[in-house]
Amino acid sequence: MTIETREASGQDTRSHFKETTYLEAIREAMWEEMKTDPAVFIMGEDVGAYGGAFKVTEGFLDEFGSSRVIDTPISEAAIVGAAIGVAHMGFKPIVEMQFIDFIAPAFDMIVNFAAKVRYRTGVGASLVIRGPCGGGAHSGPFHSQNVESYFANVAGLKMVAPATARDAKGLLRAAIRDPDPVLYFEHKFLYRRVKEMLPTDEEILVPLGVARTHRTGSDLTIVTYGAMVHKAADAAERIAEEDGAQIEILDLRTLRPLDSEAIIQSVRRTGRVLIVHEAPRFGGFAGEITAQLCEEAFEFLDAPIRRVTALDTPIPYSPPLEDYYLPQTDDIVKASRWLLAY
């Protein structure tokens, strides 16, 4: 998929633009922040000499040296613990989880230490924990998860899940600068598939907590984030072509703090809403968003709220099973049509 961003369309300013993948956008955000702020550094498994399992930090060791690009033992709890402590001392660590699934051993450090430390003591921890999430690569139950819901009920954590290269860059920059812990979920399926023309002479900074309208429409709102933005966009195009209906797609970008206002405003306009996420349904973000809409937009709804999500099972490995597990464009089309017809 190739995303044309506003900057790239029409203008003859190509010299100031560079084709940038989602992965490169993540690299650039870290690179540029490390260049300008000596407090920023990276810790994780195989991030140095190897450049990270997905090569996100390739070249960082040569540029910034081993004191700022630290290869650690396989000890996620110790890595996050150290990140909290070093953050107390004024540094801004970026921790890489080799796969976001391996955030699990650090759960205690994140939910009990990092998330609560400012509230309890007044001393904060400015840190980013980032890593590849998501399915579609047939990698089985431990290299494909979307973990946002595991953390959704914990106050004190911010969470980001970009869908575009521009947002990947701008949100990571904002996350690094943020004074509190931010979990940054980068979808591995998008790493090299998303390519955009991004400006090279402008600082891209996307504030946390602000959703983005990916596509405008008046007939139905799809609220989504991460890789599902692209499947929703495919579905919307198909429906525009085949049914003539216009779907609005709201890309949340930040999950916590959630841009409730943007969701409510869009749904009040369209009167119909479909919530799509790649994480399982039960206890997922769609549930919270549904509740907020019931509280704030009930009278504006012309149809029930619907969800398209993954199954409430672990993520299976075999391709036919995984394809069945994951929400697909066809599912979004089917649910959208039902809502539009209601």
Binding site: P73, I74, A77, T313, S318
Partner: protein, 345 residues
């Protein structure tokens, strides 16, 4: 020194060959796009898994890590089952739901690991606890990489087994690398056997590429555990002779080091030993090789003929007894008929 019969020595040789041969087939299939997901090999480390698992009896349990294919074969897994599993086919050991060595097969005494490293030891401790609760002289054996041994789960598991004096044998595979990180950057110990001191347990350091040395160390540890004298940590000194997985060309590994360790190849060494000590003739070994080749040929053909699972199989099995899915696992919600409005076609 190992007191193994000629048949046992031949079996060990056969398992080494089978392990290497099976992984070579897997690699070929991987290059043909038949393997789903990543492929990790145990090249150069086969002796550690084969010779240690060889000590176990029926009824003992074992939990492999990613480079212990040999142990699985020794426990009785058929190469065809391994191939089906790695090809994510219908009827494979995890039914297509999980990959690599992640299957649990009670009849073979196999406890499947999960990817998060260090965790399986903690669970295997529970199997060992069951043996002790029932007063059975059975033992558990597991493997962990030098990298995996640095996780919190591993530390807790080792300590738990030590304090509870569980019949567990932990084989720490010091293969010098954890993905692209040198083992020196995983632990500050100079001699990895020293980690055992922290847990107060007996330990042994062994040449992991020497079949008989591994066998002897494992045997002593298994006997100790069976006598009710608790766990042993065995450090197998070995080397990962290939990248972490197929996608890793291991550019970061010094050539000289690989060359040096190539000279210690466990299969070549054991073959020379068998020939030089007069246990086997070249002709006899050729017969073994031919048997392994034929077995693998058939296994590959069988596996390639298997189908992929049906998509709906994803729904079943999250809880006991739900062969049919529980309602909330439905992929997309049932859409009530819209009697009052026509569905667009």
């Amino acid at each position: 020194m190992a007191s193994l019969t000629r048949e046992e020595l031949r079996d060990l040789y056969r398992y080494l060959l089978l392990t290497r041969g099976l992984e070579e087939r897997l690699e070929r299939l991987f290059k043909q796009g038949q393997i789903v997901g990543g492929l990790y090999r145990s090249l150069g480390q086969e002796a550690t898994a084969v010779a240690s698992a060889f000590v176990l009896d029926d009824g003992d349990w074992l939990s492999p890590s990613i480079r212990d294919m040999g142990a699985l074969l020794v426990r009785g897994l058929h190469p065809r089952e391994v191939l089906l599993q790695y090809m994510a086919r219908e009827g494979s050991l995890c039914g297509g739901k999980d990959n690599t060595t992640h299957f649990t097969i009670p009849e073979l005494g196999l406890l499947g690991p999960i990817s998060p490293l260090g965790t399986q030891l903690c669970v295997l401790n529970g199997v060992a606890l069951a043996f002790r609760l029932r007063g059975e002289p059975r033992v558990c054996m597991t493997y962990q990489g030098d990298g995996a041994s640095r996780t919190g789960a591993s530390h807790e598991g080792l300590n738990f087994a030590a304090v509870q004096r569980l019949p567990v044998i932990v084989i720490l595979e010091h293969n010098r690398w954890a993905f692209a990180t040198r083992s020196e950057r995983e632990a500050a110990v100079e001699d990895w056997v020293d980690v055992a001191a922290a847990y107060g347990v007996p330990a042994a350091s062994v040449d992991g590429n020497d079949v008989l040395a591994v066998y002897d160390a494992a045997r002593e540890a298994v006997e100790r555990a069976r006598r009710g004298e608790g766990m042993t940590l065995i450090v197998a000194e070995t080397y990962r002779m290939i990248g972490h997985a197929q996608h890793d060309p291991q550019h970061y590994v010094p050539k000289e080091e690989l060359l040096e360790w190539r000279g210690r190849d466990p299969l070549a060494r054991f073959q020379s030993y068998l020939l030089e000590s007069g246990f086997e003739s070249r002709a006899a070994l050729a017969v073994v090789k031919e048997g392994v080749r034929r077995l693998l040929d058939t296994a590959v053909d069988d596996a390639l003929a298997a189908l992929m699972p049906e998509p709906e199989e994803a729904l079943a099995g999250t809880f006991a007894g739900d062969a049919a899915a529980v309602p909330w696992t439905r992929r997309t919600h049932v859409y009530p008929d819209l009697a009052h409005s026509a569905m667009p076609s």
